[in-house]
């Protein structure tokens, strides 16, 4: 009987050694000090966490949170109508549309960001087009700024928002909408008083997915933001690869991980609420 | 009669909770035996212990005289027809039927011979190359039975095998199953929560409730001589009349209805109780007549009775009425 249980051991051991152990080491490292040449000094300190509250880093944290929030809101505004449209379609068309939404999502962030670089750079499509039309005389600075990063973030995360909202719309009991009409609600009122509240779990789920993924993102700002728009992901990357301040980088990653996991926990709760509603039907 | 299955003080605990208190039962060879009870009464657990899919916490199970409770399911000479049939979706009908023989490494020609016989018996020969999902519910059910009986089990276990089918088909298959069991002379252990199904098919019925045996007997005994209040109310409809510590079960069809104007001239052999017709509900061949009794002798304010479509006297709500019944028709039950 219990011999079969051993089948699980290799993978568990693997994850313990190559996933959990590294995290624990990073946690330890976040309480160590950095020497002058980037070496690690094995002495306990909480400086790395205190240092995080310097204005420079708080600024980056603020930027990151603001960027993630804005990304989430725009994704919601773009995503809800398309999810709504998909849910209204016939079965076969729904599958096709979902697939169309998902395929770009499967393409590497790197490539998708690069595609925007082609379009937005100073000799890019948009600038060339506007120059040819004579609408502008100098190429516009469309890339390497906050707006460009935001565009890339929204572009990269949109499917994250569409899918959960679609799922909750799909599960929505259509009789409730009919009931609202029957009770004299206009379509607009029905949407705001019935549909939207009923799909709230999907909205929460999508928002948290987008928000969490935006928090840790460093590829998009790296490619579309240049040096100017550093987010916390870029800061962490720098600590490990250029600045060689591993203890500080570790402290930053621990905080990022904890923040993300808390949000994912909330996501899980939202999902449970949605499933609970499904079961009760 | 030879005992085929004997349960000797079988007990089952799940996570420290006693689901089945010590339970003993003997099922005879060639018998159509039914475990009847509401869902969660432990009837399925009991059957799964006989099949070997659950191990009894205590007690012993004998199959044709030899203890089997330590044997894994694949070493027991019993086969089961599962609730949703559990047909293997990646095999066709014939492969499903041959599965058990193949596992026991029966020679190929014999596998084929036995499969042919069983397919002929269950009228599946023309569907032999179909996938299970290409079959209707009734056909799937036949495959499940064929797949089990091809192994010549000592006992065939059936776990609510008709539950997934619609009413008409269920009625038809009840008779088919009974006939199959007669023809094969095989011991059937049948689990169901449907009292009508149990009464139609079974030689003997064990009524279960909350893990223990309420009553065991023939369909006739269970219906006409319920021993407990549970059995009386679970099988068919019953009025439960309680006086002090004693309770009686009285079938609505045994209640006689009398017009107060006429009844007095005929001295009846039983006592009459006065009441008012509260409601009459049309049910097809019968109407249910609900009578509110004047006297509060019984712990039952409203008595149910039947009037038949050809009764001359039609009762209407609000009318005064007298009700009565023959003494033996009220069966004493444990409450």
């Amino acid at each position: 009987m219990s011999r079969g249980r051993m089948l699980a051991y290799p993978a568990i051991a693997w994850l313990l050694f190559f996933f959990l152990a590294p995290l624990v080491i990073v946690l330890f490292m976040s309480f160590l000090q950095r020497g002058t040449y980037g070496q690690i000094i094995y002495q306990f300190t909480v400086d790395n966490y205190i240092r995080f509250f310097e204005p420079l880093y708080l600024q980056i944290l603020g930027d990151t949170l603001f960027m993630a929030l804005l990304t989430t809101i725009i994704c919601f505004l773009l995503g809800y109508p398309i999810a709504y449209q998909i849910a209204r379609l016939q079965r076969n068309w729904q599958t096709l549309m979902l697939l169309l939404v998902m395929v770009p999502f499967w393409i590497n962030f790197l490539i998708r960001s690069y595609a925007w670089v082609i379009i937005l750079r100073s000799q890019g499509m948009v600038n060339t087009f506007l120059l040819d039309l004579g609408l502008i005389e100098q190429p516009l600075n469309l890339l390497y700024n906050f707006g460009a990063v935001l565009l890339g973030m929204v572009y990269g995360h949109l499917p994250f928002m569409i899918l959960p909202i679609y799922v909750s719309l799909e599960q929505l009991d259509r009789r409730m909408i009919e009931a609202a009409y029957d009770l004299g609600a206009t379509p607009i009122k029905t949407f705001f008083y019935v549909t939207l509240p009923q799909t709230l779990p999907g909205i929460i789920a999508g928002s948290i997915l987008v928000f969490v993924s935006s928090l840790g993102m460093f590829v998009i700002p790296d490619i579309m933001g240049g040096a100017k728009s550093a987010l916390i992901g870029n800061l962490i990357q720098n600590q490990f690869l250029s600045a060689r301040d591993w203890p500080f980088g570790s402290a930053l990653s621990i905080m990022l991980a904890i923040l993300s996991l808390i949000l994912i926990f909330l996501y899980y709760k939202a999902l449970q609420a949605q499933q609970g509603k499904e079961d009760s039907r | 009669m030879k005992a085929m299955i004997e349960l000797q003080n079988v007990e089952k605990e799940f996570n420290g909770q006693l689901v089945i208190p010590p339970f003993s039962l003997t099922i005879n060879e060639g018998e159509f035996f039914t475990l009847l009870g509401p869902s969660g009464c432990g009837k399925t657990t009991l059957m799964r212990m006989i099949a070997g899919l659950e191990i009894p916490t205590r007690g012993e199970i004998l199959l044709a005289g030899s203890p089997v409770s330590k044997l894994p399911p694949y070493k027991r000479d019993v086969n089961m027809v599962f609730q949703q049939y559990a047909l293997f979706p990646h095999m066709n009908v014939e492969e499903n039927i041959c599965f058990g023989l193949k596992m026991k490494k029966v020679p190929l020609h014999e596998q084929q011979k036995r499969a042919e016989e069983v397919m002929a018996l269950t009228e599946l020969t023309e569907y032999r190359y179909r996938q299970p999902k290409e079959l209707s519910g009734g056909q799937q059910q036949r495959v499940a039975i064929a797949r089990a009986i091809v192994n010549n089990p000592k006992v065939l276990l059936l776990d609510e095998p008709l539950g997934a089918l619609d009413y008409q088909l269920r009625k038809h298959l009840q008779l088919e199953l009974k006939k199959l069991q007669k023809d094969l002379g095989l011991t059937f252990l049948y689990v169901t929560h449907d009292q009508e199904e149990a009464i139609t098919m079974s030689d003997r019925i064990a009524v279960m409730n909350k893990g223990h045996l309420e009553q065991m007997g023939t369909a006739h005994e269970i219906y006409h001589e319920p021993k407990t209040r549970f059995v009386a109310t679970f099988i068919g409809e019953n009025n439960i009349l309680c006086q002090g510590d004693y309770c009686y079960a009285l079938r609505p069809e045994k209640v006689n209805l009398h017009d107060p104007a006429i009844a007095l001239e005929k001295t009846s052999t039983y006592r009459l109780y006065a009441g008012v017709v509260e409601n009459v509900v049309f049910q097809g061949t019968i109407d249910k007549v609900f009578v509110r009794l004047r006297e509060k002798d019984f712990d039952l304010p409203v008595l149910m009775a039947y009037q038949y479509f050809d009764d001359k006297r039609r009762w209407r709500p609000g009318e005064e009425i007298l009700v009565g019944w023959e003494g033996p028709d009220a069966v004493k039950v444990e409450s």
Binding site: L15, L99, W106, I107, S253 | -
Partner: protein, 272 residues
């Protein structure tokens, strides 16, 4: 009035869909543009594809990506399937903890996973290279395989295995003739998923790759950092095509399998 609102909604959805596809279409189109620098269309060419396939570094990166992907796929599929079977079949005392351990690699930000592995390898003085990339990829692929196979197993329920045992199949025969054939679509989906994730991964490889273990995404990153070039477009187009084919396979294959395996749902819907 009603139809106007719906038409507006439809138009809006189409605009959003266009937003999703325009950059990809542009990227693909420009991979065929004869001009190296200009955004204007100056004629169709396959030169960039030819130069990509003649580029030694690209071929090396492709070779690295494929070998790493294959090894990561095989190892994580085997380990993951074994684990899913055990988790499904047996009760574990630390069940909650094991499930967290399985889900965490998917939930934690990739960057954190990447750098923590970098820290581990440097502490153990393991030189960064193909080995470290493979180890890292297996670490995140295992979880996906476990979850996919486990979902398939849970979809089956215990009934099929019980039926097999009841019909006289030993535990091994049950696995060989019933369990494995029935979960094989899940195992295949898990393997395909693992391979795709490995080929596609940039963030984690970025931290744990060494000099001789440049994968395709890493190579593309290097090119992108150096500036726009049509070779990147050509290479990206090839990858997009690959992703597209895999997606189609993932959508169509399970559909096919479901037909053959007889999904529980369709079985129940079957009228008499």
């Amino acid at each position: 009035m009603k139809s106007l609102r719906h038409r507006l909604l439809f138009a809006y959805a189409m605009v959003v869909l266009a937003f999703l596809y325009i950059p990809i279409v542009v990227l693909v189109l420009y991979s065929f543009n004869a001009s190296r620098i200009n955004a204007q269309w100056s004629g169709f060419t396959l030169d960039w594809y030819i130069s990509v396939f003649q580029n030694r570094y690209v071929l090396e990166a492709l070779y690295n990506s494929l070998t790493i992907g294959l090894i990561a796929m095989v190892v994580s599929t085997i380990l993951g399937t074994m684990t899913a079977l055990a988790l499904h079949r047996y009760k574990f005392r630390w069940k909650g903890a094991i499930h967290s351990l399985v889900y965490l690699p998917i939930l934690i930000p990739e960057i954190v996973m990447g750098l923590s592995l970098l820290v581990l390898f440097s502490q153990l003085a393991i030189p960064l290279g193909k080995l470290t990339v493979i180890i890292a990829h297996i670490s995140f692929c295992i979880s996906f395989v476990i979850i996919i196979v486990l979902a398939r197993l849970e979809g089956l329920g215990r009934e099929m295995e019980e039926a097999a045992q009841d019909l006289g199949a030993t535990p091994w025969q049950t696995f060989r003739y019933v369990t494995f054939p029935m979960i094989s679509p899940g195992v295949m989906a898990g393997a395909l998923m693992a391979f795709t994730l490995s080929i596609d991964d940039f963030v984690i490889s970025f931290f744990v790759a060494g000099p001789n273990s440049t994968t395709l995404p890493l190579y593309i990153y290097g090119m992108v950092k150096r500036g726009v070039s049509p070779e990147i477009n050509a290479l990206s187009t090839i990858l997009i095509l690959f992703i597209f084919l895999v997606t189609v396979a993932l959508v169509i294959l399970p559909e096919r399998f479901r037909n053959r395996m007889g999904d529980k749902k369709t079985q129940r819907q079957m009228p008499f």
